[in-house]
Amino acid sequence: MDAVTAAPSKISLRGVTHSYTLRRPHEGKHTFQALGGVDLDVKPGEFLAVVGPSGCGKSTLLDILAGLSIPTSGEVLIDGKKVTGPALDRGIVLQGYALFPWRTTRENIEFGLEVKHVPKHLRREISDRFIRMVGLEGFEKRLPHELSGGMKQRVALARALAFDPEILLMDEPFAAVDAQTRETLQDELLRIWEETRKTVIFVTHSIEEAVFLADRVAILAANPGRVREVVDIDLKRPRDAAHLRTSEAFAALRHRVWTSLQQGNRPE
């Protein structure tokens, strides 16, 4: 913990555990611990990536941060206040886009605003802004089934941003698109983040993606899920994809993360 940068944490996880019981028909009750004691601090405006093997509880962690799941023990603090449930100070972007199929692009984006009871003309202005921000002008009236994967993800992003949450939680959002679209979306995300400076927690399987996007990368180990290490990514911003991905510094950091992951996976 850095005493110099005295900025208080935006998000604090203290000893967060999550376990649930499964009842198998012939095996009786069985407690499974998804998370075992997670401690993490995230600074305001920070971009934190979370990587880890399957089953390490990444998605559970995100659910807990979103307030959709309650930790079995430990606590989650946002701005010093305990999280007790979901709220509009956090926006979530999921892997499957989760766009409401009966709503157009604009209507999807305005969803959170409707929930906040923002008046109609204001909604229009705001959704216009975000449609422009994610580069979807001309597609306002399209329904989700008429959009490509990349476009859908942009709508999902715009929807999460539109109601101005301070924190953005992203659960492998680019996993379902092809590699090229993925890189484009990564660039876009960084651009938007620089513009809006939200606190972002970005869960991903891809080490490359994590190192490219984040300020820090939290590496999780499984069984039970816990933070093994947090690596500082001290690459300069703005991050230019063309040069960065082939630079030595990038490769070194990537290797560092990878090694840590591998070690975390070795049976203890």
Partner: protein
Amino acid sequence: MSRAPSLEAPAQRATTAPRLRAAALRCSGILGFAVLWELASRLRWIDPTFAPALSTVVVTIGRLIASGALLTHICISAGRALAGLALGLLIAVPAGLVLARWTPRARLVLDPFLRVLSQVNPFSLMPVFLLFFGSGELVKITTVGWVAIWPILFYTLTAITTVDPILLKTGRSMALSERELVLRVILPASVPTLFVGLRIAAGLVFFMLIAAEMLGTNGGLGWLVHNSAMNYQIPGIYAGSLLVTLLGFGLHRGLIALERHLSPRAGAALPTVPGARRPAAVAGPAPRPSASAVPTPSRWSAVAEQEST
């Protein structure tokens, strides 16, 4: 289709000709039947007193339209049908919502009871309702209402329990209250599947209503047929039957078209066995609806055609 030559003429002609042919083919069955009917009666292959020619029947229908009687009867029948459907919706949708969403355990317990109830023969219920309500509007409306409830209920249950979980997750992450979640996410997502239930209910209601009108009294399309029969007005019987069939056909096609229109708005709705009256709770493996505008070769027939070359 314009026959005038244009810059795009060759490409157009290439696609319109087969489509015209396909459309003609699809009409040929019904046309053939119509022609056969006309001839069979006129040429006395069948005794024309028992089977008046199609043209005679059409004339009878024309008279009914002209006298305004048809419109009256259609309105009477339609009114009852809509009332029955409304009754079904009002009871089944909220019940489905409650069972699926708020008391899922009650639903598990009630499931077999509901299925048994849904399979009670509506014709055997009619006398029971007749005892309760005497003969009148209420009997018909409750009978068709009863018939409408079951498909709507079962499809509502399915619709609500199969809302995409990530949609629910997204809604919950925005701290939506239960009420908002239901109104803004669950119900809109349920509409297409619900509509399938509604469509099936509409078919059943139509079927049951006409039957009830034939067995009962005072007005309506079914009564029209029954009345003609009682007065030995044979063309009237055919006229009524033809009208009911045409209306049913139109209703069926119209609802399917509407369903297709709603479908992209939330993903595939459940298909049903076409032409069936009571798919209700058991729907088979997905058969394609038989009504298709341009016939697509079945995969088997594609194989078959290949083999023969």
